[in-house]
């Protein structure tokens, strides 16, 4: 069975340190740049591009409308997200990769 576990939002910015870590039901679990984890620390010293994968998850049960609300909240706050990928678990196992 496939259940919604969160969302990866890809945000186009240089101001990555200020991307919200909490929004509504969601908490940022990690942020990566070109597949390398930056948040939570420690982050490697590396050059970055201006496109950040931000993984939001929730302790609460979430649905598609919650993801819509998260996206709307970030847009309203001026953040440009240009790709979103819902995260699923299949039979309770994460069906998405983790960054290095």
């Amino acid at each position: 069975m496939m259940t919604l576990a969160g969302v990866d939002l890809y945000i186009w910015t240089k101001d990555y340190e200020n991307i919200p870590k909490k929004e509504g039901k969601f908490t940022m679990k990690l942020m990566s740049n070109r597949g390398t984890k930056l948040y939570p620390p420690p982050a490697p010293e590396m050059d970055m591009i201006d496109w950040f994968r931000c993984r939001y998850v929730s302790e609460e049960l979430i649905n598609d409308a919650d993801v819509d609300q998260l996206c709307q909240a970030l847009t309203s706050a001026g953040w440009v997200w240009n790709k979103a990928q819902k995260l699923y678990q299949i039979d309770g196992v994460n069906a998405f990769s983790e960054p290095y």
């Binding site: 597949g35 390398t36 299949i90 998405f96 290095y100």
Partner: protein, 333 residues
């Protein structure tokens, strides 16, 4: 003053290969202070990350490392220690020299190429999802930034080492967006190097040309996945992974490693070829400015191989330690 170098002994056959290389470098009278750092299976067994943060920090501090082969544990959640090092140290350029060696029989005579593989992005960004229960998607991430720095590294190397031509390898006829960006960026960088000939080739055609017209190629620059595949093809052309060296360079650090695995089934058998790690170490000596030592060790090794003293993988029966002793004797002689 001694050069400081971080040393990862590795898993499986790694420690015996590292011991052979240490002995040869010592015989060549290069003064190196080896600073041992932990990584690999022992760390996992002790409940630590496969590459602990202390190891990353130490290599960053010292700026250079030599690494024996390590094992990626099989199973869910396991990560490759090699990819972890490349990502966390931002070692963006994997450099693989490919050349003919005496005593190594292959159909490919007079090989002399250098491959530059982008090391940090492409499908190796490892961004993957199950998007339905029966559909998976991996993201191929190519950036202008990532491509420009590997292309520039390839051209700078060509200029420094008197190479004549750089060829960008891609599949832009099909992946017009991602590989198209890679190709366009390489073309743009090439304009800054009018003294170096530039060409490009589609990856499947490049594989065919490598085994039919290898003398037409000099320096190749490739995105991560094609680089992974083509560099092993090229290693096979020079005689196999047992003789294929590798180096990983970043802006601030460099880590030198044999490109083969840890071969755990041969651990302790004193059998595995140390040449790949030894020639990775001579690339390290070059990086340290010990050019004469590099020439001495490579010359001694080739002389030994030319006399038919070689390990099982290239048709000999010499043990790891006997091979190392023969190189040491040649250096002293």
């Amino acid at each position: 003053m001694a050069h400081k170098v971080c040393l990862i002994r590795g898993d499986g056959t790694g420690p015996e290969l590292v011991a052979a290389v240490e002995k040869i470098i010592s015989t060549a009278q290069v003064d190196i202070e080896w600073i041992e750092v932990e990584a690999g299976l022992k760390c996992v067994e002790a409940g630590k990350p496969i590459v602990p943060e202390e190891t990353i920090a130490k290599i960053k501090e010292i700026g250079i490392g030599l690494k024996g082969p390590m094992t990626t544990p099989i199973g869910k959640g396991s990560v490759s220690p090699n990819v972890t090092l490349r990502k966390k140290l931002d070692l963006y350029a994997c450099v693989r020299p490919v050349r003919s060696l005496p005593g190594v029989e292959t159909p490919f005579k007079d090989l002399d190429m250098v491959l530059f593989r982008e090391n940090t992005e492409d499908l190796y960004a490892q961004i993957e999802y199950m998007v339905t229960p029966t559909v998976a998607q991996s993201i191929k991430l190519i950036s202008e930034f990532g491509t420009e720095r590997i292309a520039r590294a390839a051209f700078e190397y060509a200029r420094k080492h008197g190479r004549k031509k750089v060829t960008a390898v891609h599949k832009a006829n099909i992946m017009k967006i991602a590989d198209g960006l890679f190709l366009r960026t390489c073309q743009k960088v090439a304009q800054d190097y009018p003294d170096i000939e530039f060409g490009d080739n589609i990856v499947d055609n490049q594989c065919m040309q490598l085994v039919t017209r290898w003398k037409s190629y000099d320096v190749l620059v490739l995105p991560n996945l094609y680089g992974d595949i083509v560099s092993d093809l090229a290693a096979g052309m020079m005689g196999g992974l047992g003789v294929a060296p590798g180096a990983n360079y970043g802006a601030k650090c460099a880590v030198f490693e044999a490109v083969h695995g840890s071969a755990p089934k041969y651990a302790g058998l004193n059998k595995v070829n140390p040449v790949a790690l030894l020639f990775s170490a001579t690339l390290m000596l070059d990086h340290l400015g010990e050019n004469q030592a590099r020439k001495d060790i490579e010359g001694a090794t080739e002389a030994v191989m030319g006399r038919g003293i070689k390990t099982y993988d290239i048709g000999g029966s010499t043990s790891t330690t006997d091979f190392a002793d023969a190189v040491c004797a040649e250096l002293k002689g």
